[in-house]
Symmetry: C2
Subunit: 153 residues, 2 copies
DNA sequence: GGTATATAGTTTACATATAAACAAACTTTT
DNA sequence: AAAAGTTTGTTTATATGTAAACTATATACC
């Protein structure tokens, strides 16, 4: 369904370009809400899960610095401080000082590993269920288009 | 460029479906940041501009209720309260009581109309510049794909 | 060695987002 | 008409996001 129908807009959108932009926005927002519903029962937010995933798959046993997390999540350093604060409060990550004492090393706790084991397979199925309405060729086209857009931003 | 390269990920992503999902997220986030930079010099946030646009094009002279704005922006009613508060503080919208006294009628002020006149053409050009890296067929495919995704969420 | 510069993380102030509980006003049911 | 239910907007608590100013530490350069 078009956004115009979905939102019951009086007027059509100004251009195909604008329509595509708004489609990206609204769809990403709706996916994010679905993710919130999915992670809620596990006591996590979607962003917290993202950080845990990154620490597991990109950090391994060594962990990641907050600066690297900031880069991986494409968010402000200040934001990472708060995100790590809350995960630490909930006993899911540990902050330790690195040799270079400007850095914090962030590592997952056993509790986080156990939680991830419980969620990850289910998450993979959920992603395939949601994104599976698109054919492989459509998924590839979507990835290509998003890549092109990001490249010139 | 692929997300894996862009973020210098150690490992490839778990599935094409996951890759497509993350592409949507990261691209929408990056577009939002570009929008912030664009609107900053006008003293607006991207969300404030979106609300003003909706009030102008969908509300006309009559204005819109907060409930309708909530539906149009696909955000919580509580969030609309704050958004309208800040626009009202900045003299860009007016709250008036409707006949049905549960409703607030939100209308643009002259100041908002003047501001919109200054921004809108420039905004249209910016959107075409950014989204213009995609061919019309790619834009259409993107819109179709996003529509399909939203339909089953 | 000492100064300048860069980098990492934190703090503050603010905007945007949600859920849940609430009050006020309307509608439906009986 | 009274009770029950629905809708609208607000408040509160909390999470996530930014920019700017700050501290601490490390590196580069003279």
């Amino acid at each position: 369904m078009s956004l115009q129908e979905e939102l019951h807009l009086d007027k059509p959108l100004a251009s195909v370009e604008h329509e595509a932009l708004l489609n990206l926005y609204y769809t990403a927002a709706k996916l994010k809400k679905r993710a919130s519903e999915f992670f809620g029962p596990y006591g996590l937010t979607d962003v917290q899960f993202q950080m845990i995933m990154l620490l597991h798959h990109q950090g391994g046993a060594k962990g990641l610095s907050q600066a690297r997390l900031s880069e991986l999540m494409q968010v402000n350093r200040a934001n990472v401080t708060g995100l790590v604060d809350r995960l630490e409060r909930d006993g899911l990550v540990r902050r330790t000082a690195a040799e270079d004492r400007r850095y914090n090393i962030i590592q997952l706790t056993d509790k986080a590993h156990r939680l991830l084991d419980k969620i990850e397979a289910d998450y993979g199925r959920e992603v395939k269920k949601v994104m599976g309405v698109l054919a492989k060729s459509e998924l590839a086209a979507l990835i290509r288009a998003c890549g092109k857009l990001r490249e010139q931003l």
